[in-house]
Subunit: 325 residues, 2 copies
């Protein structure tokens, strides 16, 4: 029986929701339930379950890893929100804002431990490979977050370094979700490697789209304050590309706009957006997204399975890169 | 070939020191190297390796788990120091003090991931049990830290609740170290369970000794500011026992002493210490330590191995409960 991505998402959501937590200590478990019940697209577990399915794996054998990856992902969000001082996520207060910073640190740690504990349910013969992949990825995600924070105080950040940062911070976990699904279904190594590469390109496209949507979408749709990256002078793909292309006069205008204090947030966002528009940044970002999209398609086509078998995965991941999922 | 505890400690220290870290990002890996190179007694890995040895296990098969437990333990210290606002550990600045809070959070997360990744080197057939034990314990350690923080704002904390807190925060990881050594040596389940129980009592004794040494030792020896628990009004075993025993007049004196602000830290520590002395708290703490010490000895004697085989483990753990190791 083959499930659609939507069905897998519903099954996953129900499994995630049926995890029961101890009553005490409340300040540890209430924030975890809060963080995990805010919905979201559950992209990573759906990708894992879908990949597992197309390679003939049984859903119940892949579910613990799917839960592990989603809980791990949410742990990183809880800690990132502290480090990035982000007040909102998915339109509701972040954990450290709703409670406090210590609660954010410790409930995050507990989520990481919970997610890892789920791996005990995986078939023992597959465990060494899964453990190595899962925690190598966890380390890379931390490296990505560190580079991201480093950028704040660095004068010069190249687009190349930026791409490496988003590979680590975002792409590797998507790639690992796909690869894990394949490993659990005992797909050939060649095929699970292809899925990893596919995931990296999808992830890069996804993150540049994320940067784009922060400027060119509204809060209602996206669940974040629009222009937040501009307000916080975050060195996004758009920011770096703008400085890359700008002549001296435009650079001075960018400097002056980014120099505005928070009381002029609205003007700041408007001015920077106009400068981005004058440089054609939106179109260039779409072009960069397309490049990775095409690379993803190419490796996807080489996966040794019938087209109709692969179709659901193609559909969801490419929609995802465009954020239409 | 049987190694002494001291030899195991040296071998372990050398293995830990030979782990190589990436050069970048520096703000992620420098703090990790710093945190792991501050020495310490390496109690947990030594206990793991020693238990493994007495049950006939090979050291090289137990080393990854020993490294995992020590790195995990140090991760918890890095995060606890942020949450407890502790400036010093082992006489040097804590990670978040030397760098900053975000560095403390993220390098701690990375240490947790590194420690977990080491488990991939364990024999696959043992992995489900080891993973379940390791991460169940990790969750309990977080619960213990949360209870500890909860106590700060709670008026009434019973000694019983306190013992449960230190069981979670300290004892379970020692117990898990011992049990893991036994599991890796394929000891019978009955025996690995006994080691767990043994470790719990040793851990409880160890923690009450820790509370005691904060008041009744000097900074030079212990590597912490003496009386720090008193200065911060921490609800330790000594504090709770004192309130338990004090009459109304003495309670008022305790309240008044604990009410002193930080500019009177020295007087505060002296006054509370005198009140503790007048109530015989030091002796009562030693008595409580002895109780757990005796329970530990009893279960230890029931372990189904020749006395001379078990001797090195007995020696180190009991010395440890007395903090003579």
């Amino acid at each position: 029986m083959a499930y659609s991505a939507e069905e897998l998402r519903n099954i996953f959501e129900s499994e995630l929701g049926s995890i029961s937590y101890p009553n005490e200590p409340k300040l540890l478990y209430n924030p975890i339930e809060y963080a995990l019940s805010q919905g979201g697209k559950r992209l990573r577990p759906v990708l894992l379950l879908l990949t597992n399915q197309i390679f003939g794996g049984a859903i119940e054998k892949a579910m613990p890893a799917a839960l592990a990856i989603e809980i791990f992902h949410n742990f990183t969000l809880v800690h990132d929100d502290i480090m990035d001082a982000a007040p909102l996520r998915r339109n509701v207060p972040t954990v450290y804002k709703k409670w406090n910073q210590n609660v954010g640190i410790l409930s995050g740690d507990t989520m990481f431990a919970q997610s890892s504990r789920l791996l005990a349910k995986i078939e023992p013969s597959l465990l060494p490979e899964i453990i190595e992949l899962f925690f190598k990825t966890a380390i890379e995600v931390c490296e990505g977050q560190q580079y991201d924070m480093d950028f704040e105080s660095q004068e010069e950040v190249s687009l190349e370094t930026y791409m490496e940062m988003i590979r680590l911070k975002t792409a590797v976990l998507l790639a690992t979700s796909l690869k894990t699904g394949a490993i659990l279904a005992k797909a050939p190594v060649s095929e699970s490697e292809k899925l990893y590469t596919f995931g990296i390109h999808i992830g890069l496209a996804f993150q540049i789209m994320d940067d784009l949507l922060d400027v060119f979408s509204d809060q209602e749709l996206f669940g974040k304050q629009t222009g937040n990256d501009i307000v916080t002078n975050k060195k996004t793909w758009l920011y770096l590309k703008a400085y890359d292309l700008a002549d001296e006069a435009t650079k001075a205008k960018l400097d002056s706009a980014f120099g505005l204090s928070n009381q002029f947030a609205k003007v700041k966002v408007e001015t920077v957006t106009e400068l981005y528009n004058s440089l054609g940044i939106k179109e260039l970002a779409y072009q960069e997204i397309s490049n990775h999209y095409l690379k993803a398609v190419k490796v996807f086509e080489s996966i040794d399975l019938p087209d109709e078998t692969k179709e659901p995965l193609k559909k969801i991941t490419l929609a995802m890169a465009k954020r239409a999922f």
